[in-house]
């Protein structure tokens, strides 16, 4: 029998690449099987949705024009003239939202299982940076269609940044590319969105994944490692389950994108009054709504300044948790952390709902 051509190709490659090492690296990791194993999947879902963003984003780039006069029209062109353009745009928009949702779920699951504790502090830090970058993707992408809602939401959002003492104003001008939200802002956001953020994100993603692969999955503290702990190899068992879930996510995404196509709205006009119903994307809603409840003046400070500073401090403390949660680091149970996390989740959900009701 003639040696199979694929076999020969495989050997040819193997001689040069030495697959064995790679496979050993991939198979080294074992995923523990226990009652909380479900949460191990959300990182992978986030990764999958990011890949979708990159692919659909690059497709959109072929027609999108990041310019004040053309942006809105180019997206209308994508949606009406380009074959399946409406679908690609709708998927990019829906997947953006699902990706941020998945990232939040992933982050909270890591939080509650205390997987940030030694030796995974850097994994947690890189993860938090990626979560903030994802919010940056969302904020910058939201402006790209240059419609009324996005225009005023960006004005409000960047104005809030400006209230931070000392550094607020320079950051605001940096973000806006000038004093006001104009075409210059659109050009900048476009550059952030399609080049700067993806570049930085990819670096952190690489470190994050490398660490996960090297350190393996952590065990939740409640689960006492027994000698005969049930595990499954990451490669191929867990990966195949991952792929199955990705397929399900892709289907959900397709259903959402087809049944609820993303809208385009009305083109932004800097010389028209702000329309009613200006609101940020849902993942900024809880912060936005909080600012509404803070009185205009607290003691000698502007209410907004206090609110924004509180959120910044909370974000920093949250990001640094592996370094101040000493109890968990010593391997003791720290219920305070659980209550804190629960409080944050309930707060976010409650204020988001209030934001949509008002």
């Amino acid at each position: 029998m003639k040696p199979n051509i694929w076999r020969r190709f495989y050997y040819w490659l193997d001689e040069r690449i030495q697959f064995e090492d790679l496979i050993r690296f991939a198979a080294k990791k074992y995923v523990p099987v226990h009652s909380h194993s479900l949460w191990y999947y959300f990182g992978g879902v986030t990764l999958f949705l990011f890949i979708i963003q990159v692919v659909t984003g690059i497709l959109l780039l072929l027609y999108y024009k990041g310019n004040e006069d053309l942006a809105f029209e180019s997206i209308r062109y994508i949606m009406t003239e380009v074959e399946f353009g409406w679908l690609i745009r709708s998927i990019h928009s829906w997947s953006a939202n699902l990706m941020i949702l998945a990232a939040f779920i992933h982050m909270f699951s890591v939080f509650f299982t205390k997987a940030y504790r030694k030796p995974r502090e850097i994994t947690w830090l890189t993860g938090m940076v990626m979560l903030f970058l994802a919010l940056g993707f969302g904020f910058s992408g939201y402006l790209l269609p240059w419609n009324e809602l996005a225009f005023f939401a960006t004005k409000v959002g960047t104005d809030i940044v400006g209230v931070i003492p000392l550094i607020g104003k320079p950051i605001q001008i940096f973000l806006r590319g000038g004093e006001d939200v104009t075409g210059a802002t659109l050009s900048r956001f476009f550059g952030f969105h399609v080049a700067i953020l993806p570049g930085i994100f990819t670096i952190f993603l690489f470190i994050h994944l490398l660490l996960v692969q090297r350190q393996g999955m952590s065990l939740p503290m409640e689960i006492v490692p027994e000698k005969a702990m049930k595990t499954m190899p990451f490669f191929p068992n867990f990966l195949l389950r991952d792929l199955l879930l990705w397929l399900i996510v892709l289907n959900i995404l397709a259903i959402l994108a087809v049944l609820y196509p993303w809208e385009l709205g009305v083109k932004a006009d800097p010389f028209a009054p702000a329309p009613a119903g200006i609101k940020p994307e849902w993942y900024f809603m809880f912060m936005f709504q909080t600012l509404k409840y803070i009185p205009a003046h607290i003691w000698i400070f502007d209410g907004e300044v206090v609110g924004v500073l509180l959120f910044i401090i909370a974000g920093v403390l949250w990001t640094l948790i592996p370094f101040w949660d000493k109890k968990t680091a010593r391997g003791e149970k720290n219920l305070l952390i659980n209550y804190l996390g629960l409080f944050c989740i309930l707060y976010i959900i409650l204020l988001t709902i209030l934001g949509y009701l008002s």
Binding site: F174, G177, D180, A272
Partner: protein
């Protein structure tokens, strides 16, 4: 002797490294800062004809590169303001049914003298001067 030579070299090398990084980063950071826009400094502009604006209505106009609002009160007086809401930068509009200048973003309200009367706006709108010459309305900055 040897020790101090070593630390001398360390400072020289460290210093050059920092200077080198600075020389690379400075232009990049300076590039990120948008140039001061040569803003069209205008002090006065013709908005419209008196008959274009009926009593009890409002109009947004371009004042340089910012929006302004011209309001004609129910009695027929003209008032003009910078249309930028003092809260978070949205553009206000005249709301006929409430008789106020209204900001849709967070439901801020100003009376027809531009005073913030309800909602989050912390300050009054910046007023402009209105001059009616014949049948034409001019708006200018207040000095």
């Amino acid at each position: 002797m040897n020790q101090s030579r070593r630390s001398f070299l360390k400072y020289i090398l460290g210093g050059s490294l920092i200077a080198f990084i600075g020389a690379v980063l400075y232009p990049v950071i300076a590039f990120l800062k948008p140039p001061k826009s040569k803003s069209v400094e205008i002090s006065s502009i013709k908005v419209c004809k008196v008959n274009d604006l009926p009593n009890d209505s409002g109009l947004i106009f371009k004042f340089g590169n910012k929006p302004g609002i011209l309001v004609r009160t129910p009695k027929g007086d003209f008032r003009a303001f910078d249309a930028t809401c003092t809260h978070l930068d949205c553009t206000v509009q005249y709301k006929k049914d409430m008789g106020v200048i209204w900001c849709a973003c967070h439901n801020g309200k100003y009376d027809l003298n531009g005073r913030n009367i309800s909602g989050p706006p912390p300050r009054p709108l910046i007023p402009f001067k209105v001059i009616v010459q014949g049948d034409e309305i001019f708006v200018s900055k207040q000095l």
